[in-house]
Symmetry: C2
Subunit: 203 residues, 2 copies
């Protein structure tokens, strides 16, 4: 600390913690929690800023609008850099099982389940959130997976595989219908893996 920095005109002074390298991550963390706990409607940039201990202007500065904060907050869950190697790293042999295992694994962990539930619920009920999911995330991820496939209409195939996993998630974790809600994850993976394998690799 070498004394106060000179104030710039038109921009409020900030504490150092506000603009440090940790601020961006704290905002994203706060945004995930806020969207998960309050839902899309009731979450505001102001509320996210408060939870992260920063000025709302900083949230706008880093991310822009509420939609853009939402996109950034959920992007990590669908980050191609995280998903692609786990699923496609070893080529398309066994891809059905790896995809099923990765997807179920993410949902079995309570830490990742809560924000994902918030995303799905928001996208089901708010066009703005659906648009974010469609544009920033699903398309980006599906296109990357589809690019690795050697089947006719690979994007359609990748989406059909995704649809099955999403349906399982909804019946198991959201609506919680038995016996699927209490089924052993391995039983789900065993049944669904050949389906995904067929969609992603067979003509």
């Amino acid at each position: 600390m070498t004394g106060a920095a000179p104030r710039r005109r038109g921009r409020p002074a900030r504490k150092e913690a506000d603009t440090g390298p940790g601020a961006r991550e704290r905002i994203l963390e706060a945004a995930r929690t806020e969207f998960a706990e309050r839902g899309y409607d009731k979450t505001s940039v102001r509320g996210i800023a408060k939870a992260a201990g920063v000025d709302p202007a900083l949230v706008h500065h880093y991310f822009g609008t509420k939609d853009e904060v939402f996109a950034a907050a959920i992007e990590v869950s669908f980050e191609p850099a995280n998903v692609i190697p786990a699923v496609l790293g070893e080529g398309t042999e066994g891809i059905g099982e790896r995809l099923a295992r990765f997807f179920i694994g993410v949902w079995e962990s309570p830490a990742t389940r809560a924000p994902l539930l918030a995303i799905i619920r928001s996208a089901m009920t708010h066009e703005a959130a659906a648009k974010v999911l469609r544009g920033f995330v699903l398309r980006r991820l599906l296109e990357r997976v589809a690019a690795e496939l050697d089947v006719p209409d690979p994007k359609f195939r990748a989406e059909m595989a995704a649809s099955h996993m999403i349906g399982i998630v909804i019946l198991r974790y959201v609506i919680q219908v038995e016996p699927l809600a209490s089924a052993d994850p391995e039983d789900i993976i065993e049944l669904v893996a050949p389906t995904l394998q067929r969609y992603l690799t067979e003509e």
Copy 2:
């Protein structure tokens, strides 16, 4: 019209139209429209009664609570008497394609799509609606389908088949991700039918 009927104590007089055989159907029709247009939260027994042109007491008399009106309103869409013959009428040979065709057909029709969307959206965001879907509908329908199957763990199999169809519906009609949103229904049926067939018939 032979003059006014004697008033019974403790019960308001009703116009004839209120209690005629058409009243029950009008209430259900109004309930489906209200739940579809307003969502689960904002729909009330009073609002349904007003839309049907009857006294709220009659809605309670026929159906009970708001949850019970919801259950009755959506039951038609999942009525085993309607679904089972269409899907299981010809045994399990070709059941995968018939199930896929029936399900997509119901969703391709705008008249049945709107109330179904309302059901799914409500069940995703309100535990009360999820409970209704779970208890009255999915269980009842899935158990009937499962009873016809000759596979290990038939309820689990029937639910896994249902999960795929529900996932397709959500990506295609709710979140509207391309290319699935604009895909030819026949292409969906062609890809998914063998999956459903395997789940419902193969050990």
